[in-house]
């Protein structure tokens, strides 16, 4: 399993350009964010210029990673080691972060221009920059200290970003989450302390060699797992999501639901593949919670009164699919074929969901902004005046429901195949029930939006580009299913 994360195996030295590209990918979001706080951009083009630089850095890294398979960096400062790596998985996630981040950043000036002036709008930029930098660091870091720094920066910046526009309910939910996540970070820290005390090292590659299954590994994995589950809003701990999202700004919701919740899941999988590989119970527990999440999140979304609650609860359900896959990736007695299929399906589902959910949040934000209505009933009859926003919502929901040819379909196909091969019938059932529930809540919204008898609203025109960006993301999720061999090539390239 460790080779899949690029922790073992030989590699070439990174090219000179890669060093600069890595530095740019990790630091420039922070720098540009800080600049934007001082000179808030009012138009889209300065943002586009800044994003272009970061995206170019990503392309350079992609080219080098494709050639070398795995890139590694290692430094040591007075006894503290820092280790980074780029392999297929982390490269894909880094690209996803950069493009999704760019989309969210491009969406922001238009949103701020047409909505009422907000007191804290200026602070959105540095926080967004910090989240993107921290996410990029989380994908590439391979030692527990750097991972801890990345996760905490990401978590704190994300909470701050979500609460910028918050009203009392959201602030309370966010405060509860902040306290829980801080306690969770202490649990993670205690897990790290156990590992450092017992094995005396923090780099994952070294740990992968010395860790042996035993109570220490189990307890450390449990402590770290609890901390990460708190951060990722995994199933029983998701209650704060919908009040916070219902008042957060649209690009913030898109970034959070698309990427931030995934980072903890990525780190969880990476750590458990070292500490708990081929154990029976721990991945099972995650999978059971995932099944409950699929059903519960689906039901909440189905009964939701407001559109944002629907979209936010759907995130809980969709994360459930990823949790259901854990036994296939980590459990014992899984054939290599089933494991490889599950591995591909997992990342494809994660990427497809990130793009589709970001698009969906943007479409929902556009609808709410244009009509001034938050509830599904209030949004009745939007099909006549806002066909484009509704189209984006539709294309994104195709991916979420897993209809062909979207990324959701390809991913679920791979996952189903893997589940059937290894005889995990409960997981198959969860996947099917989840799909039905998704269809139920999506079509419930569409039924309202196509009502012809609804009274006419007064519509606020959207800024140019706001729909186009959302459409771009939704189409990307759609196309990812057709062009799945590109990301899958990259995923396998890291193992060659």
């Amino acid at each position: 399993m460790n080779w899949r994360f690029g922790l073992t195996g030989s590699t070439f030295d990174p090219l000179m350009t890669s060093h600069w590209a890595l530095a740019a990918a990790l630091l420039l979001p922070l720098v540009f964010g800080a600049l934007a706080a001082i000179f808030p951009p009012r138009r889209m083009w300065p943002v586009a210029l800044a994003c272009a630089v970061i995206l170019t850095a990503g392309i350079f890294l992609l080219i080098d990673t494709r050639q070398a398979g795995v890139l590694r960096w290692q430094w040591e400062f007075s006894g503290i080691g820092v280790a980074l790596r780029l392999n297929g998985v982390s490269m894909l996630l880094l690209l996803l972060t950069q493009w999704l981040g760019a989309a969210a950043a491009l969406y922001t000036p238009g949103l701020l221009r047409i909505s009422d002036p907000e007191r804290f709008a200026r602070w959105l930029w540095p926080l967004m920059g910090a989240v993107i930098s921290a996410l990029s660091l989380a994908w590439v870091a391979t030692d527990l200290l750097t991972l801890y720094i990345a996760l905490e920066t990401m978590g704190l910046a994300a909470v701050a970003m979500l609460l910028l526009s918050g009203q009392a309910d959201a602030l309370l939910a966010g405060m509860r989450y902040l306290l829980l996540t801080l306690v969770g970070s202490l649990a993670y820290l205690l897990g790290v302390a156990l590992i450092l005390g017992y094995w005396g090292r923090l780099d994952l590659a070294g740990l992968a060699e010395v860790v042996e299954p035993g109570p220490v590994a189990w307890v450390a994995a449990a402590l770290m797992g609890a901390g990460l589950a708190l951060k990722a809003a995994l199933f029983p701990l998701h209650a704060w999501l919908s009040p916070v999202h219902s008042s957060a700004w649209t690009p913030v919701s898109a970034l959070h639901a698309g990427l931030v919740v995934k980072a903890s899941l990525f780190v969880l999988l990476e750590l458990w593949s070292i500490l708990l590989f081929e154990t029976f119970w721990a991945p099972r527990v995650i999978a059971w919670m995932g099944m409950l999440a699929v059903v519960w999140g689906g039901l909440i979304a189905w009964r939701a009164e407001s559109l944002k609650t629907l979209v936010a609860s759907s995130t809980v359900a969709q994360l459930g699919y990823l949790m259901v896959v854990f036994p296939l990736l980590l459990g014992p007695d899984i054939s290599p074929l089933a494991r490889a299929l599950a591995w591909d399906g997992f990342w494809l589902q994660l990427m497809g969901h990130a793009l589709a959910k970001a698009a969906m949040f943007m479409a929902a934000g556009n609808l709410i902004l244009a009509t001034g209505e938050k509830t599904l009933e209030g949004l009745a009859g939007t099909s006549r005046r806002l066909p484009l926003s509704l189209l984006v919502f539709g294309v994104a929901s195709v991916t979420l429901m897993g209809l062909p040819p979207s990324a959701g379909f390809t991913a679920k196909w791979l996952l189903l195949q893997s589940m059937v091969i290894s005889g995990q019938w409960w997981a198959v059932a969860a996947l099917l029930v989840g799909t039905l529930l998704t269809a139920a809540y999506i079509f419930r919204f569409f039924r309202y939006s196509f009502m012809e008898t609804a009274p006419r609203h007064r519509y606020q025109p959207l800024a140019p580009g706001m729909d186009v960006i959302a459409l771009g993301l939704a189409l990307a999720a759609f196309a990812l299913g057709l062009l799945a061999h590109f990301p899958l090539d990259l995923l396998h390239g890291g193992s060659a």
Partner: protein
């Protein structure tokens, strides 16, 4: 064994525990926050005795100079009298709920205690010889209990900070204060400060928006609205 215990450490451990308990269970909020200052200073001294001067410096700077003002800001010490938080937290949790939460906290502490006990031989500093680590265990337990019993957001934030310090002491016991351990603790100190800062900002904003009851969590807010 007793002879090897340093008298300074015993005194320091007692000071730490006392300051932590006052900080956690004093209903007068301003006094509780003042005890937190004393607590951080004791923590700094504790790091000095554990041979980690860098951590002592960071604890002094981050704990006493940066985190404490966050609490005073949350209480409204720097603002005109009309915007100050009420000086006491009068809320009492129903007994059944409190017992339930205490049991959960105890279960958690037992788990952690079992872990520490289990890899006892691997511990760098043993708790029986280093009363500071024993103080860390007591602090974790007390802070978990306080976190479970209190609903007032300022007190929960304080409880988190005390809990953090307890965990740092445990970390030092498990892993020693080598550069890697020190780097972890320094990062965690910065995280705790940023978390407290964010928490303080949110508390102030909540208080301005919704008044006193909002500070008791979502149930408090619902009661006000009815």
């Amino acid at each position: 064994m007793i002879a090897s215990v340093d008298l300074i450490e015993v005194v320091l451990a007692l000071c730490l525990v006392t300051a932590a308990l006052f900080c956690l269970f004093d209903r007068h909020l301003l006094r509780a926050c003042s005890f937190f200052v004393a607590f951080t200073l004791c923590m700094a001294l504790a790091w000095l005795t554990l041979a980690a001067p860098w951590l002592a410096l960071m604890e002094g700077i981050i704990g006493a100079l940066l985190t404490t003002p966050c609490f005073f800001y949350a209480l409204g010490v720097f603002t005109p009298a009309s915007e100050k938080l009420p000086s006491h937290d009068h809320f009492k949790e129903p007994l059944s709920r409190g017992v339930m939460r205490t049991l959960l906290a105890l279960a958690w502490c037992l788990m952690v205690g079992a872990v520490v006990r289990f890899i006892f031989p691997a511990m760098v500093y043993s708790p029986t010889e280093h009363p500071l680590l024993l103080a860390g265990v007591v602090m974790v337990a007390a802070a978990m209990g306080a976190f479970a019993w209190h609903r007032h957001l300022v007190r929960r934030l304080l409880a988190f900070n005390v809990l953090g310090s307890g965990v740092f002491l445990l970390l030092a016991g498990l892993a020693g204060t080598d550069p890697q351990g020190q780097a972890l603790i320094t990062t965690a100190l910065v995280v705790a400060w940023l978390g407290s800062l964010l928490g303080a900002l949110v508390i102030r904003r909540l208080y301005r928006l919704e008044g006193e009851n909002a500070l008791l969590g979502s149930r408090g807010l619902k009661e006000t609205r009815q």
